[in-house]
Amino acid sequence: MPQPLVQVRDLHKSFTRGTERIDVLRDLTLDVGAAEFLALMGPSGSGKTTLLNLIAGLDQPTGGKITVGENVISEMSESELARWRTRHVGFVFQFYYLLPVLTAYENVELPLLLLPLTKEQRKKQVTNALALVGLPDRMSHRPGQLSGGQQQRVGIARAIVTDPELIVADEPTGDLDTKSADEILRLMEILREQLGKTIIMVTHDPKAAARAQRTLHLEKGQLVRDVVH
């Protein structure tokens, strides 16, 4: 296995619903190597999205430790996590979640606004990101003017524009037709192969998971299988 970028140790996450305590993740330990493409699979409620959110710093664990690179993110405050996410994590969502009132260019530029960059630097990074996903000619289009596949490409451009080492994707092909899904998965492979990005992808689709280097299967908050492709 490559040098681990993500280290999860004894991770525990529980929610309280009324008087009932629900353990979503239980004493979960795993490593994800740098420049690795990892797929997370499992039935609904198995905890895969929760795990993804915790690794991405969107939520705080109930117990355990998560380290990404040199940062122990399980000990960070909300605002520290927000700053960390801007620089170190890119997000790709199933439903793209582009801001409808902004153009493709402006959507991709959003995370860069939080970084100390000049206008020219931002422009260069946005242009490169959109070119990388094959949409250099759609910069001024609004999300409503783009197809689902194109919107997801913009979503990926937004995820990589800050040059993060980790990209998390929550069912990125779940809302796409087969051809578009294949294009998106190919794009993710390119990101890993050419740019050395570490990718963690939650999916229900075995074909999509097969494109990853490794697939982890979760059930009832625990790792039950680790398959290397």
Binding site: L58, R85, F91, F93, F95, Y97, L99, T118, E171
Partner: protein
Amino acid sequence: MFGMPTDAMTPTGFDPSMFMLSGYLLGLLGGLNLLAIILGVVTLPVFFLVLFGVEQVARVTANVSGWFPAKLVLYMFRGLRRSPLRTSLTYIALFVLTLVLSLIYSVLVFIGRVTTEKEADFKAIATHKTIIPSQMPRSHYEDFKKQLAKLPEGMRPVNGEADIMSWSFFFGTTDPISKRPDSNIFAFCVEPRKILTMMDGLDDLTGKEKADLDAAVAEMERNPQAIVMSKMRMKKMNLQIGQTIKVTGLSYADLVFDLQIIGELPDGKYDNISFINSAYLFRQLDAWKLNNPKNRTSEPHPMDAKCINLIWVRLPNKEAFERLAAAVNDTGNFSSPQIKLETASSGFGTFLEAFKDILWGMKYLMAPAMVAIMCLVIANAISIGVRERRTEMAVLKVLGFQPRHVLFLVVGEAMLVGLMAGFMSTLIAFRMIGNLKLQIAFFGAFFVPAEVLIYGPMLGAFVSVAGSLMPALAAKNVKVAEVFSKVA
């Protein structure tokens, strides 16, 4: 009438006129709100045009500077375009609020101004001691002048005779058969030369307006049957300078006046009011007593002993007022009827006394209630918007936006609408009514003070910020993981 000891009270002592007054005020408020809504709807295209224009400025600023706050402001503008209907309704609501409150504020400022005492060179008013509107005999005016002459040197009016005048209210019609509103004339019967020195709003004219009024007054002195009318009234009655009109008295029954229009009052000054030489009124009253065929017993006209409504005098200082008030209050000097002397401001205050609860209610109940209700309306509108955009807020947080950025976005969008609605409504109030400087009879000019141009946008911004604060806090505290788990 209101504030009068009335014989029209029911046997239970209940005054039905208060119902009428309530009805009038409710109608007035309803009409004002309706007008404000219509104006708000009419100005919507302008609002969106201005919104678009300012957005372009924000866009250029954001693009040129690349400054993060400028980008956020740009996103606020874009956010407002997201739901034009909601933005329009929010704008109209804030427009109505700021317009109505601007006018209420103007009324309160006006009342405050007319009821504030001047320390020197102020006007005092003599009126009937109990009856409103006041009615006094002509002899009281002469007796009043005698009392003035008895004041010590230094307490008498500085300009002598020019600083005292009597007012007689005259209401008549040019069409005694059908008595339509557009054939009615309301006039102040005064000594013509006093128009130039004693009348608020006419004593400070300049240029051509002053020259025209000087000429008109000179003509009134020469020709007692002359009448000077406001431009507005002349237009309504389709009259022109030089025409002769026959006016039948309504407040002076059976008296007919042949009047020649010899001048007009400037726009916005005493609109719908006319001036007639009081000598002509007195001459007609005398003539009625002597020559009227209906009056076989040569009794004076019923209004003869009631034809002076007010006496005004300009006094040099408070001591003079106190000395003169003591003489006026002395029943030995004025007994039938007794009269009282007040400063103009306290006179107005007495007149407004009947309305004091209503004014208090306007200031301390209605205005705050309107602000509170509007805050709730805005809070509701913004809450709906925030609820619809929870995912968007969560995405912003995922991308690294701090909770305060999200708060700023939500509050900022509302504030932009509030500022613009406040500015546009008060600008309309100021331009439509403010520059007219409406002269309200002897109350002086009513106008919308310039400061509403600042207060209006501030009020709009305050209400929108206050209303959006709770929804903005909810947006700020959005839990990203919860939002996405619900969406999934």
